[in-house]
C-alpha cells in the first residue's frame, strides 16, 4: 500500500510541477472565469484533481519543496492540499523521506503537535524546514509531520477532540498547506499555563508521557506566506469556472502577495473584512447567519440544514446534499466592513457525479450555524486572502476579496 501511494505521489509531482502546467491550461470561455496567471516567481501552479489517493473531490493541490534549513538538501512533494481555513504546513510522515531537525522544548524534549481539524486531529512532531513555494522561501519555519511512527501514543486530551488522521489515505492528501487569514496556528492561547491552554503543543520526553507545553508564538507552526521576505501579506487562488455536471480536473494558480507585483493587484475586487474570529455574515432568505467564511479546504458549499434548505441528504456521500435535480440559490455575503456581495450557486446530487470526476461546482452540504463557502465558490474566481495585520493597498488584513 505505501508503495502504491509513493508512485501516486511521484505522478502527481510530475503533473503539478510541470512547467507547462500554467501555459497548457485551456483558455476559459468568455465570462467563465479569470485569466490564470502566467508563470512567475510568485506563482505556484495548482490543480483540482483526485490527488494522491485518486479519489479526492473538490480538493486543490500544489507542490511544495521542503529543505533542511540553510542547505540544498531538499524534497519536493506534490499532492499538498491548499487550505485557506488553517495556517501552517503539515506533511504526512509517509510522504516525507527527508530528515528534518526536530524542535525541542525548554526541557530538551521533542515538541509534538495535536492539531484539530473539524472532523479529525493530526498528531506528530514539529520540525523545522525551509519551505519553498514557487520562487518564494519561508526560511527555517516550524512545520508539523503527521503520523504516529515516532510518537505512537496519542494523548487522550488530543484524541478526545476528534478522530485521528494519520496517513495519506486518511488525509486524502500528502499534506496540508494552510495559508488562511492568520499567521501562527495557535497564537498566545498556547503560551498560557494551565487549563486555559487549548493543548495544541506537547513535549514528549524519552521516558514518561507527553504533556501539554507552553509553546512560544515564534515556535508555533506558521503560515509560510507570512514568513516570505516579500509578497507576504496574502495570496490569491485563481481557478477556472466549472460547468454543471462536473469535470475530471482543472488547473489554476496560487499567487503570492496582494498588490506587491504586477500580477497580484486587487483591480476591481470587492473587499469583505472579517471579525476577529475570521468570520463574516451571509444573508439567506432574509435571515442573517454569522459564522460564515471562505475556505478552499472545504470541498463543497456547506450551508444550514435540510429543514431550512429543503435539500435532502445524500444516500452515499455523507454530509452532502443530493437534490433530485439541480437547484439554484442566491445569498449575500456581508463583510465586517459592511461591504456586500450578492452571489448565486447551484446544488446538485453529489451521489450522481461521474465517478471519474474530481471537480463539481454544485457540491453542497449541511453546516451548523452558517455558510462555509468551500472550493466550489472559488471556481471561476480570483479570491484574495489577506493576512491579519498585514498591509495591503485595500488596508490591513484580515479580509477576503474577489
Amino acid at each position: 500500500m505505501p508503495r502504491v501511494l509513493i508512485f501516486g505521489t511521484l505522478l502527481l509531482v510530475a503533473q503539478v510541477s510541470s512547467p507547462q502546467c500554467g501555459s497548457t491550461t485551456p483558455a476559459a470561455p468568455d465570462g467563465s472565469g479569470p485569466a490564470i496567471a502566467a508563470a512567475a516567481s510568485n506563482v505556484l501552479p495548482i490543480a483540482v484533481n483526485g490527488g494522491p489517493t485518486n479519489d479526492a473531490l473538490n480538493s486543490v493541490f500544489a507542490t511544495v519543496t521542503v529543505c533542511v534549513p540553510g542547505t540544498s538538501n531538499c524534497q519536493t512533494i506534490g499532492g499538498i492540499l491548499v487550505d485557506t481555513g488553517s495556517y501552517g504546513l503539515r506533511i504526512a510522515s509517509s510522504a516525507l523521506t527527508l530528515s528534518l531537525p526536530q524542535q525541542t522544548g525548554t526541557s530538551g524534549a521533542p515538541v509534538v503537535q495535536c492539531f484539530a481539524f473539524l472532523d479529525s486531529v493530526t498528531w506528530g512532531p514539529v520540525v523545522t524546514a525551509d519551505v519553498r513555494l514557487a520562487g518564494e522561501q519561508a526560511s527555517a519555519i516550524p512545520i508539523q509531520v503527521i503520523g504516529t511512527d515516532r510518537f505512537p501514543s496519542i494523548p487522550s486530551g488530543c484524541s478526545s477532540q476528534g478522530s485521528p488522521e494519520e496517513t495519506v489515505s486518511d488525509l486524502n492528501a500528502n499534506g496540508i498547506l494552510g495559508i488562511g487569514l492568520g499567521i501562527h496556528d495557535c497564537g498566545s492561547d498556547c503560551t498560557i499555563v494551565g487549563p486555559s491552554n487549548p493543548g495544541l503543543y506537547y513535549t514528549c520526553p524519552a521516558s514518561g508521557s507527553c504533556q501539554v507545553t507552553q509553546e512560544p508564538v515564534v515556535n508555533q507552526v506558521v503560515n509560510p506566506v507570512a514568513v516570505f521576505p516579500s509578497d507576504n501579506n496574502g495570496a490569491i487562488i485563481q481557478l477556472p469556472a466549472v460547468p454543471t455536471g462536473g469535470q475530471a480536473s482543472i488547473a489554476g494558480a496560487l499567487i503570492f502577495g496582494i498588490g506587491t507585483q504586477s500580477n497580484n493587484g486587487l483591480g476591481s475586487a470587492k473587499v469583505l473584512t472579517t471579525d476577529a474570529f475570521g468570520n463574516m455574515q451571509t444573508t439567506f432568505n432574509g435571515q442573517s447567519y454569522g459564522n460564515s467564511f471562505l475556505d478552499s479546504g472545504s470541498n463543497g458549499i456547506f450551508f444550514l440544514d435540510t429543514a431550512t434548505t429543503g435539500l435532502p441528504a445524500c444516500r452515499l456521500s455523507t454530509g452532502f446534499y443530493c437534490p433530485p435535480s439541480v437547484r439554484a440559490f442566491s445569498a449575500t455575503q456581508v463583510g465586517a466592513n459592511g461591504a456586500t456581495s450578492a452571489v448565486s450557486f447551484n446544488a446538485g446530487s453529489v451521489d450522481s457525479l461521474n465517478a471519474t470526476f474530481s471537480v463539481m461546482s454544485e457540491a453542497t452540504g449541511s453546516n451548523p450555524g452558517g455558510f462555509d463557502w468551500g472550493l466550489p465558490f472559488f471556481y471561476g474566481r480570483s479570491i484574495y486572502t489577506a493576512i491579519a495585520g498585514r498591509s495591503t493597498p485595500a488596508g490591513n488584513g484580515p479580509y477576503w476579496a474577489y
Binding site: 479519489d55 479526492a56 473531490l57 473538490n58 480538493s59 481555513g85 488553517s86 495556517y87 484539530a116 473539524l118 472532523d119 479529525s120 487522550s156 486530551g157 478526545s160 477532540q161 476528534g162 478522530s163 486518511d170 486524502n172 494552510g178 488562511g180 492568520g182 496556528d185 492561547d189 494551565g194 487549563p195 486555559s196 491552554n197 487549548p198 474570529f277 475570521g278 468570520n279 459564522n291 467564511f293 475556505d295 479546504g297 472545504s298 470541498n299 463543497g300 456547506f302 440544514d305 441528504a313 445524500c314 452515499l316 456521500s317 455523507t318 454530509g319 452532502f320 453529489v350 451521489d351 457525479l353 452540504g365 449541511s366 453546516n367 451548523p368 450555524g369 452558517g370 462555509d372 468551500g374
Partner: protein, 151 residues
C-alpha cells in the same frame, strides 16, 4: 466559593464512569463543568427543557440541554477551540468516532462534520479559531421538543 465546592462534591458522589454528558443526567453537567474546569454562566428554562451554559477555560461556550427527566438530550458549543468531545459525548463518543471513520470510505466531505448513525446526530462547522457544533440523541428528546432547539 460555595458554588465551587458544591459541584466538586457532586462530582465525587458520582459513580465511576458516570462522568458522561450526553445521555447522562443533569448531575453530569456539574461533572463536566468540574472536569473541564469550566464556569457555569447561565441557566435558562424554555418550557419542556432547561439549558445550562458553561464557559470552558479556553473560552468555548458549551450548552447542555435536559428535560424533566434530567437526562441530557443535546449539547452545543461555539468558540475558538473544540471542547473535550469525549467528555461531552460520554458513551456516544466511540459511536461518533466509528461513524466518522465509516464516512471516510464514502465520497468524503472535507470541512464540516455531519454524522447521523441512527442513534446520535453530530454537526460541527467552522475553521481554525472558530468552531460551532451540536450533538443530540433523538430518542432522548422530550416529546414535543424540536431537535432544532439544540444550537
Amino acid at each position: 466559593m460555595t458554588r465551587t465546592i458544591m459541584p466538586m462534591l457532586l462530582a465525587l458522589a458520582l459513580p465511576a464512569g458516570a462522568s458522561a454528558s450526553l445521555g447522562g443526567t443533569v448531575a453530569t453537567v456539574e461533572a463536566d463543568r468540574v472536569h473541564m474546569k469550566a464556569a457555569l454562566i447561565g441557566i435558562t428554562q424554555s418550557g419542556a427543557y432547561t439549558v445550562h451554559t458553561i464557559l470552558s477555560p479556553t473560552g468555548t461556550k458549551i450548552r447542555e440541554y435536559y428535560g424533566a427527566s434530567g437526562v441530557i438530550f443535546g449539547v452545543a458549543w461555539d468558540g475558538a477551540w473544540q471542547p473535550d468531545l469525549r467528555q461531552l459525548f460520554g458513551s456516544y463518543f466511540d459511536r461518533y468516532q466509528r461513524a466518522l471513520q465509516g464516512a471516510r470510505k464514502a465520497r468524503k466531505t472535507r470541512g464540516p462534520v455531519a454524522v447521523d448513525d441512527g442513534t446520535v446526530v453530530v454537526r460541527i462547522g467552522g475553521h481554525l479559531r472558530s468552531v460551532v457544533g451540536v450533538a443530540y440523541v433523538p430518542q432522548l428528546i422530550p416529546a414535543g421538543v424540536d431537535p432544532g432547539v439544540v444550537k
